[in-house]
C-alpha cells in the first residue's frame, strides 16, 4: 500500500495547519484513498494503476490545499522579532528570561544550592557589617542638629594628656569668652546610692549643667529638664533615665514630684529622659540619674582640678575651623593669665559624633573591607561554577545561536540568571545576617554607644539589594560573555563536546583561582595580624594576678560615714566577716580598681628634689587602699613593707610608690624613708614617708604604658574614701558573690554593692574592642579560606577531568602514578603560587591601614606573613591533592575511551 498519508501531508504543507489538525485530515483522507485503492485493485487494476487512479483526484482544477484554505484555520505564525523591536519587548523578554532561569535552577538543584549558599555567606556578611556601620557611623545622633555639637577638651599633650578633662574655672571662662558657640555645657560622672525603696542600689549618674539637655535638644518623656535657676548649690532635684524609671518605679506616671534618697540626701524628681540619651562615657558607665552640676564656690574657682567634660553647640554657620581657632585664642589668653595651671594648655574641639563613634571607625571600615573581600571570593567561586556549567550548556547555546538567537539577547539572559542567583543569595544572606547580628551584638564592647540601634532597616535592605545586583553582574559577566563567544561551527561539529575547556575558558578559570588565593591571603594576613596582636595584649602582665579575684564596688554615703573612724569601723567589720567566709583566702579594701577607672592623679613634691616647672611637672596616680591590698591583688612588693593596721591617723603618714615613680624621683637612691607631699614641695600639707615600693600596675588598658603611681592607706586619710573591695578566693570567685554581698549587708543593710565581677572578666573587658575586631576578622578570614579551598578544589577537579584522556595516554605509555600526581599537583600549586605572590604584594601595601589596630607587632610582621603563606599553601595543596589522587586512580583503558 502506497503511503497516502505522506502524499496528503505534502499537499497540505503550504497551509501550515496546527500539527494535530493536519494529522487528523491526513488520516481521514488517507483512509479514503486506501479504500479506493483497494477497490481498484479488487477490480483487477495493477497496484501502480490503482495508485495513479487514486491520485488523479488531486490533479484537478480545484486542488485540495486551495479548497481547504477556505475552510481550515491556519496556525498564526510567530512574529519575527526584528532588532528594532527590542524596546517594546524588554518586559516580556525579562519575564521569559526569569521563567527560563527558574527552570534551569530547578533542573540543577545542586548547583543552585551551592551557588546560593556561597553568595549568601558573602552577601550576608556584608549586610551584617553594613548594619553595624549604618547604626554606629552613618546614623545621626538622636539630638537636635547634631552636626553643630562638639566636645571640647583641654590639650595637655606635653604631660601625656592630649585630651584632658577641663577644670571648672577654665570651663566657666570658656563659656564667658567664646562667641562662636550658642551655649556650652559641662558634666561629670558621679555615682549615687539609691536607698529607701527596696534593695539599695548604686547608680551611675552625672552632675550636668542645667542647660545640657536643652543644648542637646532632648525632650523629656515626663516632666521637664533642669532650669538655669537650679544650677546652684543646695538645689536637690534629679532627672531619671527611662530605664531606671521603668525598672525601679514601674513606669509610674506620677513619679515627677516624688522624692528620692540619693547618697542619703533627698532629691525631688523633676522629669524622665529617654534612654537614647548617651553622653560620651568611659567604660560601661550608663547614666541612670542626673542632678545639676551646681559648682560650690571653691570648686568653681578650681583651675587645677580636672574632672569635667564639655559639650558645645556651635552657632549656625560657624565652621569647626572657626570654633577651633577661637578656642585656641581663648586657651592662649588663659595660659597667660594663669601660668601656674594653664601654661602650654591648649584646646581640642572635636565633633560629638566623632567622639562617640570615632574609636570604632577604623575597625569597622577594615571589617567592611574584609567582608567585601569575602564577597569577591564568593563571586569568584560562583563565576567558576557558572563557567563549568556554561561549558556543559555549550550545546544548548550553540544550538540557539545557530537557530538565530542574537548574542546580546543570550548574554542578557545569562546575566538575568546570575542576578537571580545573587538575589536568592541575598535573601538567604539577609536571614544569615539577622542571625549573625544577634550573636555579633553580644560581642560588641560595652562602651560602644548606640549599639542597641543595630538592626536591619530599609537602608540595609537597599544596600543588600544593590550589592546583590552588582554581585550578580560581576560574577555573571565573564561566564556570560565567555559562553556566547565561540566558534559556532566548531562547537556544532564537535557534536557539542565541551569547548569550555578551550584556552580562553581555562585562562579565565585560572585567573579566578589566582584572584581567590590572593584575596583570601590578604584577609588571612589581616586576621593573622589581629590575632597576633591580641595574643600580645593578653600576654602582657597587668601587674597583678587577675585569676581567683572577686571585685566589687562599695561606695560609702558621705552623710552616713562622714569621718575616718566611722569608715574604718565599717570596713574593719566587713573585712572581718568576709575573711571568715569559707573559700576566701584574703580580702582587702581598695579604691579605683585598675581597668575600671583611669585613676585620680596629681603632681607631687619630693623632699630634696627641686620641683620641675609647672608645664613639665608630671602627675602621679594615687589610690586609697587598705592593708593586705598588695598581697590580695598579687602585686609584688619590691622593697620595704605593706601598710598595716597600725598605719593610722596616730602614726606617721606613709605612702607606697610604684617602681616607675621610684625610678623617676630617686633614680640612684633607695626610696624607702624618703618623703613626699601633694602638689609641690612649696605647697601646704604634710609629708608622707615612703615605706614600700611595688611593681607597676596597668591602668585601663594594655596599650598605654603604666603611669607613675602611689598608694595611701585609707586609715590615714580624712577626705579620700576607698570605694571597693577585692577578695582572693580558692574557688570560682563569682560563686562567692552572694555571700560577700550578704556579709556587707550584715554590717549595713542600706549599703550599696555594685559591679560585682571577677577581675579576669574586668581585664578581658579592656581588650573587648580588640577581641571584637579580631573575632570578626578571623571569622571572615575563615569563611574566605573555606571558599577559596572550595574554589581551588573545584577548578582542579575540573581541569583534572579535562585531562583524563591525557592522563590515560601517559599511564598507558608507562607513566607512574606518582608522576601523574606530581603533574596535577604542580598545576594547582602554580596557580596558588601566583595568587600568593600577588596577595603578598597587595597585603604588604594594604595592611598598613591596620597599623592603628595592631599592638606589639608591625603591619608587615614577617612571622605572620610566613605562617599565613604556609597555611594557605597547605590548604591549597590539599584542595588540589584530592582531585589529583582521583586522577591517579584512573584506569588507562577507561581514560582512553573518555569523550
Amino acid at each position: 500500500m502506497p503511503d497516502f498519508k505522506a502524499e496528503i501531508r505534502e499537499r497540505l504543507s503550504s497551509l501550515s495547519l496546527a500539527p494535530a489538525r493536519e494529522n487528523e485530515i491526513a488520516e481521514e483522507l488517507a483512509q479514503h484513498l486506501e479504500d479506493q485503492y483497494e477497490q481498484a485493485v479488487d477490480r483487477g487494476a495493477t497496484e501502480e494503476e490503482a495508485r495513479l487512479a487514486v491520485l488523479t483526484q488531486f490533479n484537478e482544477t480545484d486542488p485540495l490545499a486551495q479548497s481547504l484554505r477556505r475552510v481550515e484555520r491556519r496556525v498564526p505564525q510567530n512574529p519575527i522579532q526584528m532588532g528594532t523591536e527590542r524596546k517594546t519587548n524588554m518586559i516580556s523578554d525579562l519575564r521569559q528570561d526569569i521563567r527560563y532561569g527558574l527552570r534551569m535552577f530547578l533542573k540543577n538543584p545542586g548547583f543552585t544550592a551551592i551557588a546560593v549558599l556561597a553568595l549568601a555567606l558573602g552577601i550576608g556578611a556584608n549586610s551584617a557589617i553594613f548594619s553595624v556601620v549604618n547604626a554606629l557611623l552613618l546614623r545621626p545622633l538622636p539630638y537636635k542638629d547634631p552636626s553643630q555639637l562638639v566636645v571640647i577638651w583641654e590639650n595637655a599633650a606635653h604631660l601625656g594628656f592630649p585630651k584632658n578633662t577641663p577644670s571648672p574655672a577654665n570651663f566657666l571662662d570658656w563659656q564667658k569668652q567664646s562667641t562662636m558657640f550658642e551655649t556650652m555645657a559641662a558634666f561629670a560622672e558621679r555615682s549615687f546610692n539609691l536607698t529607701g525603696i527596696g534593695e539599695p542600689e548604686r547608680l551611675d549618674g552625672r552632675r550636668v549643667s542645667a542647660n545640657l539637655f536643652s543644648l542637646l535638644g532632648v525632650k523629656p518623656i515626663l516632666g521637664r529638664t533642669f532650669v538655669p535657676d537650679e544650677d546652684k548649690p543646695g538645689t536637690k532635684v534629679a532627672l531619671l533615665n527611662e530605664s531606671l524609671w521603668k525598672r525601679r518605679f514601674g513606669s509610674d506616671p506620677n513619679v515627677v514630684g516624688r522624692s528620692l534618697a540619693l547618697n542619703g540626701e533627698s532629691y525631688t524628681v523633676v522629669g524622665v529622659l529617654p534612654s537614647s540619651v548617651r553622653l560620651p562615657a568611659f567604660g560601661n558607665w550608663r547614666d541612670q540619674v542626673w542632678v545639676p552640676l551646681a559648682f560650690p564656690a571653691e570648686e568653681a574657682a578650681a583651675r587645677g582640678n580636672h574632672f569635667l567634660e564639655v559639650i558645645g553647640r556651635m552657632k549656625p554657620g560657624v565652621s569647626l575651623q572657626q570654633a577651633r581657632a577661637e578656642m585656641e585664642t581663648i586657651a592662649a589668653r588663659l595660659a597667660q593669665q594663669y601660668p601656674e595651671h594653664n601654661t602650654r594648655i591648649g584646646s581640642v574641639v572635636n565633633p560629638l559624633h566623632e567622639e562617640i563613634v570615632g574609636n570604632m571607625k577604623p575597625a569597622l571600615l577594615i571589617l567592611l573591607g574584609a567582608v567585601a573581600f569575602v564577597l569577591l571570593i564568593a563571586c569568584a567561586n560562583v563565576a567558576n561554577l557558572l563557567l563549568a556549567r556554561a561549558a556543559a550548556r555549550h550545546k544548548e547555546i550553540a544550538l540557539r545561536l545557530a537557530l538565530g538567537a542574537d548574542r546580546r539577547r543570550l548574554t542578557k539572559q545569562l546575566l538575568v540568571e546570575s542576578v537571580m542567583l545573587s538575589l536568592f543569595g541575598a535573601g538567604v544572606g539577609l536571614a544569615l545576617a539577622l542571625a549573625g547580628l544577634r550573636v555579633l551584638t553580644r560581642f560588641i564592647p560595652a562602651d560602644v554607644a548606640h549599639a542597641e540601634m543595630i538592626t536591619i532597616d530599609g537602608k540595609v535592605m537597599i544596600f543588600t539589594l544593590l550589592v546583590a545586583v552588582v554581585t550578580g553582574l560581576v560574577f555573571g559577566l565573564a561566564p556570560a560573555s565567555q559562553a556566547t563567544h565561540f566558534n559556532l561551527n566548531d562547537t556544532l561539529k564537535e557534536g557539542g563536546r565541551d569547548s569550555g575547556a578551550g584556552p580562553r575558558g581555562k585562562r579565565l578559570r585560572s585567573a579566578l583561582v589566582i584572584a581567590e588565593v590572593a584575596v583570601s591571603f590578604i584577609l588571612l594576613i589581616g586576621a593573622g595580624l589581629l590575632i597576633n596582636s591580641f595574643m600580645h595584649l593578653r600576654n602582657l602582665d597587668p601587674g597583678f594576678r587577675a585569676d581567683h579575684l572577686l571585685a566589687l564596688n562599695v561606695d560609702l554615703s558621705e552623710t552616713k560615714y562622714p569621718d575616718n573612724p566611722r569608715r574604718v569601723a565599717f570596713f574593719d567589720e566587713v573585712v572581718r566577716r568576709v575573711q571568715a567566709l569559707p573559700a576566701v583566702r584574703s580580702v582587702a579594701v581598695a579604691g579605683n580598681l585598675p581597668f575600671t577607672y583611669n585613676g585620680d592623679s596629681m603632681p607631687i613634691g619630693v623632699e630634696g628634689v627641686p620641683d620641675p616647672p609647672p608645664d613639665q611637672h608630671p602627675d602621679v596616680i594615687y589610690r586609697a587602699i587598705g592593708p593586705g591590698y598588695f598581697s590580695t591583688m598579687g602585686i609584688p612588693l619590691v622593697r620595704g613593707r605593706d601598710f598595716t593596721e597600725q598605719d593610722n591617723l596616730d602614726a606617721d603618714l606613709a605612702v607606697v610608690v610604684s617602681e616607675k615613680t621610684a625610678k623617676y624621683y630617686w633614680p640612684n637612691a633607695d626610696p624607702i624613708g624618703k618623703r613626699l607631699k601633694n602638689g609641690s614641695t612649696t605647697q601646704e600639707g604634710p609629708w608622707r614617708t615612703v615605706i614600700g615600693v611595688v611593681k607597676d600596675v596597668r591602668q585601663n588598658d594594655f596599650i598605654a604604658e603604666p603611669k607613675m603611681q602611689m598608694y595611701f592607706t585609707y586609715r590615714q586619710l580624712k577626705s579620700l574614701m576607698p570605694n571597693a573591695l577585692v577578695v582572693r578566693t580558692a574557688v570560682d570567685p563569682l560563686s562567692l558573690a552572694t555571700s560577700v554581698r550578704n556579709a556587707i549587708w550584715a554590717v549595713d543593710k542600706d549599703q550599696t554593692v555594685a559591679n560585682v565581677d571577677s577581675m579576669e572578666h574586668i581585664v578581658a573587658g579592656a581588650v573587648a574592642r580588640q577581641r571584637f575586631s579580631m573575632l570578626l576578622l578571623a571569622i571572615f578570614a575563615g569563611v574566605a579560606l573555606v571558599l577559596a579551598a572550595v574554589g581551588i578544589y573545584g577548578v582542579m577537579s575540573y581541569s583534572v577531568a579535562q585531562q583524563t584522556r591525557e592522563i590515560g595516554i601517559r599511564m598507558a605509555l608507562g607513566a607512574q602514578r606518582g608522576d601523574v600526581l606530581k603533574m596535577t599537583i604542580k598545576q594547582g600549586l602554580r596557580l596558588v603560587g601566583f595568587g600568593l605572590l600577588i596577595g603578598l604584594v597587595v597585603a604588604f601595601i594594604l595592611t598598613r591601614v591596620m597599623a592603628s589596630l595592631l599592638f606589639g607587632i608591625s603591619a608587615t610582621d614577617p612571622i605572620t606573613f610566613l605562617t599565613i603563606s604556609l597555611v594557605l599553601l597547605a590548604v591549597a595543596m590539599l584542595a588540589s591533592y584530592i582531585p589529583s589522587v582521583r586522577a591517579m586512580r584512573v584506569d588507562p583503558m577507561v581514560a582512553l575511551r573518555y569523550q
Binding site: 487528523e24 485530515i25 481521514e28 483522507l29 483512509q31 479514503h32 484513498l33 479504500d35 479506493q36 483526484q57 488531486f58 484537478e60 480545484d62 486542488p63 485540495l64 479548497s67 481547504l68 477556505r70 475552510v71 481550515e72
Partner: protein
C-alpha cells in the same frame, strides 16, 4: 469508468446541491466520508461523483458551520473512522433546502415540460 457529467454541469450541480446531498445522506444515520462518496456515486448511478479533494473540504465546511458534527469512532477489529452526523441546526437547514430544491425542480419542470418522475 462510469460516465461523467460535463465539467460545467458537474461544478454547477455540486455548487448548488452538494450540501443538500451530504446533509440528506447523514440524516438517518452517521456515515464516514468514504461511505458518503460511495453512496452519492451509487444512488446517482454514477452520474455524480466527488473526488477526495472536493468532498472533504465540503465536509469540513459543513462541520464548521455547525450543520454536521464529525467524531472519531473506533470499532473492534477496524481502524478508527470519522463519522459525520446531522446536528439539529443541520436538520433545519436540510428541511429548508429540500423545500427550496423541490420548488426549483417543479419550476424547471413547469417551464421545460419535463415531468417529475
Amino acid at each position: 469508468m462510469a460516465y461523467m457529467a460535463s465539467p460545467i454541469l458537474d461544478r454547477e450541480l455540486k455548487k448548488g446541491s452538494a450540501e443538500l446531498l451530504i446533509l440528506s445522506l447523514v440524516e438517518d444515520r452517521p456515515r464516514h466520508g468514504y461511505d458518503i462518496g460511495q453512496l452519492i456515486e451509487l444512488r446517482s448511478r454514477g452520474a455524480l461523483r466527488f473526488n477526495v479533494a472536493s468532498l472533504y473540504p465540503l465536509l469540513y465546511r459543513l462541520e464548521k458551520r455547525g450543520w454536521i458534527r464529525g467524531r472519531w469512532v473506533e470499532k473492534t477489529g477496524q481502524r478508527r473512522r470519522r463519522y459525520y452526523r446531522l446536528t439539529p441546526a443541520g436538520a433545519k437547514i436540510l428541511k429548508a433546502q429540500r423545500e427550496g430544491w423541490r420548488e426549483f425542480v417543479e419550476a424547471i419542470g413547469l417551464i421545460t415540460g419535463i415531468q417529475h418522475a
